[in-house]
Amino acid sequence: MEPVFKKRVSKATILKLQRKNSFEQSMMLPAVVKGLGVTLRHFFNNVAGGERSEAVTVQYPEEKFPYPPRYRGLHRLMHREDGAVRCVACMCCPTACPAHCITIIPEETGNGNEKRPAVFEIDELRCIVCGLCVEACPCDAIRMDTGAHAHPSENRANAILNKIDLLKNATLNDKDPHSTAIQGGVPAWRDTNKTP
């Protein structure tokens, strides 16, 4: 196509081309009708098409997308068999936490468990949901398997979960709030076939 205008400006060249001036192109109407047809086809397929429906929309919040089993949600603190807090305030989780969002103040229990947290706070605004606290815990006392998101709150103080909140979270996922893990892990290495 021959340019109707040509000019060289420093290193670039400006070309002006004349469009083919047909009736269909200047009206654009057939294309509009064609597009509307596609839309209508999808609409009827999805609303009344049954099997042919291609809709992937999840009707949140009535319907929820299933999370993968290892999804890291809101923290929870586990209970012992007698209902006491499982945590022994060993400070492994605040040590491992890269965001410094866990605050623990330990106290003596006076019973055989020796030590427990007097204060256990997690700042869910600071938490980066990495799950290192769960991995660091030697007692299976902290878990992130509730599948819940951090609750929206109107001020920052409400986003800090304390010990009571975290213990309540234990019922979010499980019907049984007690941890079923064996303290100290499963002693697989005691299998004499594996170790000399």
Partner: protein, 526 residues
């Protein structure tokens, strides 16, 4: 015959003094030998068998802590036989150890933990239950024992016997039932009992004061000096987030060797109690500037009236040398001649012949030396006398404690100006016209001189509260308003000037800089 002995350790020749054991000799060349029961400040019973080494010509391995060096001895510390023995002894030590490191207070500064990761690192091969022993056994007012964690090294028993000279601990039962206990009818309540916690290589003995309050790896350590008495034991301040958590002794062969008394360890508790955080004028809170100018005005009126013989300064044995020196220097420039020495009163029942002294001030020697440099220092009794007679109009006092009786304290009210710089509120602070907030011993850089004349360095570990600042800065501010320009960039420059002018500090050294390091990088202390 010379007292030097030549021997070979791991093929390396060295000489050392007669009577030294092989373990200490090996330390000289840095040959790694592991040990639990040996402690350089205690006798060697050779019970842990962890320090076994091979000596050429001897059929069996020998405990290096119990074997003195001999001429032409050839020692192997890294042979296969030694390494096997070391690993096997460690496995034996761990046979009944509960390995509850995550919940053990000693974790992070535990010798057993360190040894395990250095020399063993393998799983336990014992497939039967561990022996159970009492978990929380109360041994005395300051100490709790976890008998399961104990590895029976007997260091604590030897601390009681040899340091405190009070045999209160002993081993009872035998074999795997053996456990530490107090002697019949005794409690672990000697004044040096917490040293047992320091020497414990595991978490068996814990101090009730520190127990469960903090994990070792969260602490920062700053070397400093105990201010509990005139001995001035070298110590480490362990602190985190601007708060002191404990004091532990630091090795110093000239002063305290490895030890420290319980009372001294608890001096950190007073650091934050009843602090003066803002300045006060006659008991009313005032701005810092107005307090400084009021103090200066009071002294200026005396200077103008040429009545400097009615003014006095009080040097304090609880303040550092630098603070005392700067006050003395300002007093000299102003022509004040009345110098008094103050401090806590003597406490004869506190003294013993181990470490503790009846003089409860850390810097009596230094304050007196500076007082003598000024002229003829008077005692606190003379100060009380002068106050009662009305022989003084102005007094500039360094805190904290000044042993005045009620009548003399009441006489402070009648002074034209009484400037009192103190970290703590006490019975004097209500009676002075100008109260300035000063930093305490844990918040300043400076030196103190103990009863032997050994000058040691205090180092700042935590921030002072409110407007509090070091004594010498306060003095310099007041002096500036009086027209005496005194400015030092840091405490070190004061010290160097002082060591040139005051003869008693001619040979003292300021000590190296020691920024706080995290305990997790400082290695195990067990």
């Amino acid at each position: 015959m010379s007292d030097l002995i030549r021997l070979k350790i791991d093929g390396q020749e060295l000489t050392c003094e007669k009577g030294v054991n092989v373990l200490e000799a090996a330390k000289q060349i840095g040959a790694p030998i592991s040990y639990f029961c040996y402690h350089p400040g205690l006798s060697s019973p050779a019970v842990c068998r962890q320090c076994l080494v091979e000596v050429k010509g001897q059929p069996k391995l020998v405990p290096s802590c119990y074997t003195p060096v001999a001429e032409n001895m050839e020692v192997l510390t890294q042979s296969e036989k030694v390494l096997t023995a070391r690993q096997q002894m460690l496995e034996f030590t761990l046979a009944n150890h509960p390995v509850d490191c995550p919940i053990c207070d000693k974790a992070g500064e535990c010798t057993l933990q360190k040894m395990y990761s250095e020399w063993d690192g393998s799983h336990s091969r014992i497939d039967m239950d561990k022996k159970h022993k009492p978990k929380v056994k109360d041994l005395g007012p300051h100490i709790v024992l976890d008998a399961e964690r104990c590895i029976l090294c007997t260091r604590c028993i030897r601390v009681c016997n040899e340091v405190a000279k009070d045999p209160q601990l002993t081993m009872a039962w035998r074999g795997d039932r053996e456990q530490l206990t107090t002697s019949p009818g005794e409690q672990l309540d000697n004044p040096y009992s917490i040293n047992t916690v320091d020497v414990c290589p595991v978490g068996a003995l814990t101090s009730k004061d520190f127990r469960f309050s903090m994990r070792a790896w969260e602490l920062y350590t700053t070397p400093s000096v105990c201010t509990g008495c005139a001995t001035g034991c070298s110590d480490e301040i362990h602190h985190a987030k601007g708060e002191i958590h404990r004091l532990v002794p630091r090795e110093n062969p000239d002063v305290n060797k490895f030890w420290m008394c319980d009372e001294g360890r608890f001096t950190y508790k007073e650091v934050r109690v009843r602090r003066v955080a803002v300045s006060q004028l006659k008991g009313q809170v005032a701005s810092f500037k107005s307090a400084i100018s009021t103090a200066a005005k009071g002294l200026l009126s005396l200077i103008d009236a040429k009545q400097m013989q009615l003014a006095g300064i009080v040097l304090n044995a609880q303040a550092s040398n630098e603070d005392n020196y700067v006050l003395a220097k300002v007093a000299r420039a102003l022509g004040i001649e009345n110098v008094y020495l103050a401090g806590r009163p003597d406490q004869p029942d506190f003294a013993d012949d181990i470490l503790r002294k009846s003089d409860r001030n850390p810097n009596t020697f230094g304050a007196r030396a500076i007082g003598e440099w000024m002229g003829k220092p008077k005692t606190t009794a003379q100060l009380a006398d002068d106050l009662n007679r009305g022989a003084l109009k102005a007094l500039w006092m360094l805190g904290d404690h000044i042993a005045l009786d009620e009548r003399a304290v009441g006489a402070l009210d009648r002074l034209e100006v009484a400037i009192y710089q103190s970290p703590h509120e006490n019975f004097i602070s209500e009676h002075v016209s100008v109260l300035l907030p000063a930093s305490g011993w844990a918040e300043i850089d400076g030196t103190v001189t103990n009863f032997k004349g050994i000058t040691q360095r205090l180092r700042a570990s935590v921030e002072p509260p409110g407007e509090a600042r070091p004594h010498h800065e306060l003095i310099a501010m007041v002096a500036a308003e009086l027209g005496v320009a005194i400015e030092y960039p840091n405490t070190k420059s004061i010290f160097f000037e002082m060591s040139k002018t005051v003869p008693a500090f001619g040979h003292a050294s300021f000590g190296r800089e020691a920024p706080p390091i995290q305990l997790r990088f400082a290695g195990s202390r067990g």
